[in-house]
């Protein structure tokens, strides 16, 4: 039995040192091609699979950006767990693996941009990458970040006795970088590094020729650092070449000439730089005095290692306040152990006056080693801060005494440089930079007009306090710590132009960079960015963005400044930030039903934001009643502003328009609803008054909007509601552009899936809801999309969250506060209409049967048989015409007419939309049907649409397979199929399907008991989440009518339970006629 490793694409880094050895079994398949001997590369492969075809197929699917036909192929030895023995994974053996060679440079570009991060709420599994791909992508991103920060060094590696190679090394010097490296290491699967390191003939039972056991693999930490170093070097060189780097040639042309003339006394700096920049990386030692050069370079680059003395121990410079009567500030040298908790004067250490603990001594290797490091570090201090030499002009370090102006000089530049060089600089506590005393500036945003009035009581119209295109004022203030600086104080500081200032009898330390920025901000003639004038005006949406994120960046990726908001603008921002601040709205009297607690919250939220003129997105989970909340909102406004408002436009997919209509009638009978849909809709501007009646609800579809935007954009609606707003996720589409043109006071989007994780879609949506809030598309992409999606930039993500949070409300079924409001089984009816095809078939069948009954005037028994047959036929028609006509459907047919096929049954269409939501939320669903033919159709169509296998459990499934299907569905594996089709009868009892949180009854078994039993397979003990149960009902059809009948007459229900479906045939003729008519 083969082992059950995922057949995923794996990526393994193959260093030149590996494949150049015979033991690697490396063999290039592509004829007459060659891999340069010093080249390392990536191998793309699939475990236990060596067919070229399957590898290429998978690559086309998952790595679309890689041009497969350009890649060379090879076979190579990798170590894999023993496939013959699935119980023991402790045995690895050599496998000859077929794979594609991906050179490092294109690979790094691909991996750096690869979006390997899964969102908080998982994306569908189809796009996910294997652990090895993720591992190498993360290492690539880390390498790029280090280069971006400038954390790389030129070094000289020894290759032979007299020759060295120039190389660029990336540096992991920050503890945070090291931590991330470790994290990647700890999470990587062995497939990322399955290079055999030690192999051995199988000792006892060596049966076959080449069966080599692998005892050890290349250590991943070694392989990973080797990759980062190799990649760093390749990137630096290639980037310089690509950018036509000429500085070297310009400054060393005399040496270049010399070399051309074959002169030998070339300067070593020239030779070194050349080895770092040119193809020939060799540094040949030609003259004896050059033998010192590698050492010299080693000493030089070592300086910049963050901790010159070894891990956990540093040299520290400590500045103290002057003694009471003196003017002199002592500056002393110390050794600091373990993050500075322990500080010992260096002179005492050297004199031996302090005995170090053996633990402290363990930091050093030997005396000569320590002395060299120490002396070199001290030398480094002198270079950065020359006055330090006066402390070192003796056998032991002395304490320097600095005057105030010398302290200023020390603080102005050497201090930072010392810290950056790995030394600790300890200042008197009040000076700690970033602490309480920091000089900074803050931006104040305010509106000019009077104070915010709570207008709710007086106003009879809905007018927002601010218009979206309004301008606000801003001005900058100096700030010291958290307190405002008076203008005079600020001017004093700027004019002093010094870093150590005695302000109000207190020494205040100012950061050089802060001082410069502040000078720039308060100088009206300089501009370092958008809002860097001392005062000015700002667009309302921009102000809102800054007010919500509470910070402003003057230049991209630059320093952040605090933002303070004032006046009525502050009131608004504060209000929308917390739901609790909103004035509570109770259920409108005219609402025909009862709102659950969280639905009241939703109503409150929407009503308040709407009054302020904002757009919002209600993104509650499917089944929580978004439609109802909107209806309650419409009623609320109708009650509150009976006359002054205009109409409301609701845009939804065609498949739900009748559902909307029905729900509006049921829960808001007071609302006046008009359909703008179909051929007989209003098309003329002269009739537009129909759409401008107060509180009239205009229902329309996405498709209609696209065509009628010119007509509808002339109306200023009070509100626009976009249901299933994922339909407007593409910015470029005509449909989205059309919706952008509509005008209204407030805007509401409804979505059943989280919207905040797909950033481009989020931007597109917000451009409709609150245009301008997220900035223009280009800058949104640069500031948020790429940093977050590609690099998981947390700061950017948090900032964005702050800005959008007030405008998105999402509750999930599993929220604790929601669960207690919800019934465990949340039954929801979904109403759909008949398509034209269905309508025609339906009518024909009904007429024929009625005729037959009439003409035959047969016995009751025959009559009831006719009716039961008809009932089945009608149900089939409601499901899908193909089912009724017994037409087979194959995936080949679907390739041609998938859309047509779906739209032939609005029920199917709606099911698909809802399944999309289920899958997007990473949940699982069961679909019940009582017809095997329908089950077959569903299986074919769903399998065609989704990439995962669709499970299908029906009467024909042999007993031994049944358990397997159930196990697969119940598995926790991330690749476990999320959909199960169940034939209502075959399901039997005793099935445990608790992984499903959604149950669809595609057709109805008019027997509540049977339906309940089916539903209970998902809802069982052990189910932790609430279950949504959706029952599809085709409007005006037998499905709707019988459903009403059952609801209206409870006593009937009991009868139903005992007698299956046959009760229907016992109804009176009139009743039957009414049931069958299509009205």
């Amino acid at each position: 039995m083969k082992m059950n490793i995922d057949k995923q694409l794996e990526l393994t880094y193959i260093p030149s040192k590996y494949w150049n050895e015979k033991a690697s079994g490396f063999s290039l398949i592509s004829a007459s091609k060659k891999v340069p001997t010093d080249a390392s590369f990536f191998l793309i492969w699939i475990p236990f699979q060596d067919s070229e075809e399957s590898l290429e197929k998978k690559m086309q699917e998952k790595m679309r950006d890689i041009p497969i036909n350009k890649l060379l192929s090879c076979t190579i030895h990798l170590a894999l767990p023993n496939s013959n023995n699935s119980d023991s994974y402790k045995e690895f053996q050599i496998q000859n693996v077929y794979g594609k060679i991906l050179p490092l440079l294109p690979a790094s570009n691909y991996l750096n941009k690869l979006e390997v991060f899964e969102n908080e709420e998982n994306k569908p599994t189809v796009r996910s990458f294997s652990g090895s791909v993720t591992t190498w992508a993360l290492l690539t991103k880390l390498t790029f970040e280090l280069l971006n920060r400038g954390d790389f060094l030129p070094v000289m590696d020894k290759s032979t006795e007299k020759s060295y190679t120039g190389r660029w090394h990336v540096l992991l010097k920050d503890p945070y970088d090291y931590e991330r490296f470790q994290k990647i290491l700890q999470n990587c699967p062995f497939t990322a590094y399955s290079l055999p390191a030690t192999m051995d003939q199988k000792s006892r039972t060596a049966p076959s020729k080449n069966e080599l056991l692998v005892k050890e693999l290349w250590h991943p930490s070694f392989l990973f650092s080797d990759y980062m170093e190799t990649l760093g070097d390749i990137l630096v060189r290639s980037i310089l070449i690509k950018n036509k780097f000429k500085t070297f040639e310009e400054f060393y042309n005399s040496e270049i000439l010399k070399e051309k003339n074959r002169e030998y006394n070339l300067s070593w700096d020239y030779k070194f730089l050349k080895s770092l920049l040119k193809k020939d990386t060799n540094f040949q030692i030609q003259q004896f005095h050059e033998t010192i050069v590698p050492k010299l370079i080693k000493n030089w680059v070592n300086i910049s290692n963050i901790s010159p003395l070894g891990y956990g121990i540093r040299l520290a410079l400590k500045l103290d306040f002057p003694d009471s009567n003196q003017e002199e500030w002592p500056l002393g040298l110390y050794l600091s152990f373990q993050n500075g908790k322990n500080l010992i004067p260096l002179s005492e250490v050297l004199k031996g006056e302090v005995t170090l603990t053996s633990e402290q001594k363990d930091y050093f290797k030997s005396k000569e080693n320590l002395m060299e490091l120490l002396l070199r570090s001290l030398g480094r201090i002198i270079k950065i801060y020359p006055p330090a030499q006066y402390a070192l002009n003796g056998a032991y370090p002395a304490t320097l005494l600095l005057t105030s102006s010398e302290v200023m000089e020390f603080l102005s530049y050497p201090k930072d440089l010392l810290i950056q060089s790995g030394f600790r600089v300890i200042l008197p506590e009040v000076f700690q930079s970033g602490g309480k005393q920091r000089l900074s500036a803050r931006m104040i945003i305010y509106s000019e007009e009077g104070e915010y009035k709570d207008k709710e009581s007086t106003s009879s119209t809905m007018t927002p306090l601010f218009q979206l295109n309004e301008m606000l004022q801003y001005q900058w203030e100096g700030e010291l710590g958290d307190t405002k600086l008076e203008k005079k104080e600020l001017e004093y500081i700027i004019n002093q132009n010094q870093l150590l200032i005695n302000l109000k009898d207190e020494w205040v330390l100012i950061d050089q960079q802060d001082l410069e920025n502040i000078k720039a901000i308060f100088n009206p003639s300089t501009s370092i960015g958008k809002y860097s004038q001392p005062e000015g005006i700002i667009k309302y949406m921009d102000a809102l963005k800054l007010g919500l994120s509470q910070k402003v960046e003057l230049e991209p990726a630059g320093l952040n400044y605090k933002v303070l908001i004032k006046g009525s603008f502050k009131n608004i921002v504060d209000k929308i930030k917390t739901l609790e601040n909103f004035s509570k709205i109770s259920q409108p009297d005219s609402f025909n039903g009862t709102l659950r607690a969280y639905q009241k919250t939703g109503l409150t939220w929407m009503a308040n934001l709407s009054e302020l003129g904002f757009g919002m997105c209600l993104a509650d989970d499917m089944g929580l009643g978004k439609t109802i909340q909107v209806i309650a909102l419409l009623l609320h406004f109708k009650e509150k502003y009976p006359t002054s408002m205009n109409s409301v436009l609701i845009i939804c997919p065609t498949s739900v328009i009748y559902n909307w209509k029905r729900e509006l009638r049921r829960f808001g009978p007071d609302l006046d609803v008009i359909l703008h849909h179909g051929l007989d809709r209003v098309k003329d501007l002269s009739e537009i008054s129909q759409y401008t009646k107060p509180h009239r609800v205009v229902l329309t579809t996405f498709g209609t909007i696209r065509n009628d935007v010119d007509l509808l954009k002339t109306i200023r609606f009070t509100g626009i509601v976009v249901d299933e707003s994922q339909n407007m996720k593409n910015y470029e589409t005509q449909q989205t552009q059309a919706i952008y043109q509509l005008q209204s006071h407030y805007k509401i989007c409804l979505s059943g899936t989280p919207i905040e994780n797909r950033l481009l879609e989020l931007w597109t949506l917000f451009e409709f809801l609150n245009p301008g809030l997220l900035g223009i598309r280009k800058s949104f992409r640069e500031d948020y999309i790429i940093p977050i999606e590609r690099f998981h930039d947390k700061e950017a993500a948090e900032n964005l969250k702050k800005i959008i949070a007030p405008f998105i409300l999402r509750r999930t079924k599993s929220d604790k506060s929601i669960i207690k409001d919800l019934p465990e089984k949340n039954e929801i009816k979904i109403y759909v209409e008949l398509s034209k095809t269905q309508f025609t078939l339906y009518k024909k069948e009904v007429e024929e049967t009625l005729k037959r009954i009439k003409s035959a005037s047969d016995t009751n028994k025959n009559k009831s048989m006719y009716i039961l047959t008809l009932l089945t036929k009608l149900k089939q028609i409601c499901n899908h015409p193909y089912q009724f006509l017994h037409k087979p459907i194959t995936s080949k047919d679907l390739k041609k007419n998938f859309k047509d096929f779906i739209s032939m049954s609005p029920k199917l269409e709606r099911l698909f939309e809802m399944i999309d939501e289920v899958i997007n939320n990473n949940e699982k669903a069961i679909i019940f049907t009582q017809f095997t033919q329908m089950g077959d159709i569903l299986e074919t169509v769903l399998s065609y649409k989704y990439e995962f296998p669709v499970l299908y459990f029906h009467g024909g499934v042999p007993a031994e397979k049944r358990k397997k299907i159930i196990d697969k569905f119940q598995s926790n594996n991330k690749d476990s199929p999320p959909l199960l089709i169940l034939s209502l009868r075959a399901g039997g009892t005793g099935l445990n399907l608790t992984k499903a949180t959604t149950v669809f009854h595609f057709d109805r078994w008019w027997n509540p008991a049977v339906e309940r039993q089916a539903t209970d397979r998902a809802y069982r003990i052990g189910q932790k989440e609430n279950v949504n149960v959706y029952k599809f009902i085709t409007l005006n059809s037998i499905e709707e009518k019988i459903d009403t009948l059952i609801e209206e007459k409870e006593e009937l229900a009991d009868m139903v339970i005992s007698s299956g479906e046959s009760w229907i045939s016992q109804l009176t003729d009139d009743k039957i006629k009414a049931l069958l008519s299509l009205e």
């Binding site: 050297l350 005396k367 370090p397």
Partner: protein
């Protein structure tokens, strides 16, 4: 730039008599050229102390040898320099030059003196031989530089029996360039290697007892007839978490909480700033400019590349 003379021309002129003044001037010129062969003050001082041996014209020819790529296999140990010099014969001549090492008891006193000033030690380690240090040695009558007042103790395998012959002189001159880069070689010649010196310093005595850890034994390379072993750090198959393999299919894969941030590079690049310049550069200014440009290009371009569409 030093002006290079064509020595062959000058040599021909030697056949013609010159007046005393002319000759004196020419010798002075040669001496100054020889001294300027070295770059640092102590290098020059080395040449200067050798000049006392006389024979300016021979030294001048030796300088040409030293500048060409004729000297190899230099070995410096306590009291002795060894080198091969490619002369006119096909096999190089073997040159040995002897110096008097400083006796251990004198070293003790000198080391005590050296310990008395951190600045001196620092500059020595950084490749500078300060006058203060030179004076310390001379104070105790043990100059770091050769005393040739009684001739030079040296041997060369060339037919010319004179001391110094052209080859010996070439090596001596060449050494001035070597100590330009690393003056610690002078101390080694006199009997103290850097490591010894550092461990014998008066300061930091409490560290003296420390032993340097054993150098870790190299990975054993298992080269059995049928197997093979790479010389790399390894991980035993037994230590690979079984979870990696077995549970992969049963558990949702763990999400790694890790993030990256790219910043628009500013004026200040920390590593470059910390790096400064290496010592003994021949053209520090050009080197600094090239490095600066490299770092600016890389930080900027990686930002661009990473955030590109």
């Amino acid at each position: 730039m030093k002006e290079r003379r064509d020595y062959r021309d000058r040599n021909e002129k030697d056949y013609y008599p010159m007046d005393k003044k002319q000759k004196h001037d020419e010798v002075q010129q040669i001496k100054s050229d020889l001294i300027n062969f070295a770059n640092t003050s102590w290098g020059k001082k080395w040449v200067h102390s050798i000049l006392k041996i006389g024979r300016p014209y021979r030294m001048r020819r030796a300088m040409r040898y030293a500048e060409e790529d004729r000297i190899s296999n230099i070995l410096i140990k306590k009291g002795e320099i060894f080198a091969l010099v490619q002369g006119t014969a096909p096999t190089p001549y073997r040159v040995r030059i002897f110096f008097n090492p400083i006796p251990e008891d004198a070293w003790k006193i000198i080391e005590e003196q050296l310990s008395g000033n951190l600045l001196n030690l620092i500059s020595l380690l950084e490749g500078t031989l300060s006058d203060t240090i030179i004076t310390i040695f001379e104070q105790y009558h043990h100059s770091l530089f050769p005393d040739v007042s009684h001739g030079l103790n040296a041997k060369c395998s060339c037919p010319d029996q004179a001391v110094p012959c052209k080859h010996i002189a070439a090596v001596i001159l060449y050494i001035s360039r070597v100590i330009d880069y690393n003056p610690l070689i002078l101390l080694k010649l006199k009997g103290k290697k850097k490591k010894q010196l550092l461990s014998e310093l008066k300061i930091g005595k409490q560290f003296t007892s420390m032993k340097s850890p054993k150098s870790s034994t190299k990975d054993e390379i298992d080269r059995n007839t049928s197997g093979y072993s790479y010389e790399v750090p390894k991980i035993s198959v037994k230590d690979i978490k079984v979870k990696d393999i077995k549970e992969k299919n049963d558990l949702p894969e763990q999400k790694i909480d890790i993030s990256f941030q790219f910043t628009k590079p500013g004026r200040f690049i920390e590593t470059l700033e910390n790096l400064g310049l290496p010592t003994n550069l021949e053209n520090p200014k050009a080197f600094a400019i090239v490095m600066d440009k490299i770092y600016k290009t890389i930080t900027k371009q990686t930002y661009k590349i990473s955030l590109a569409k």
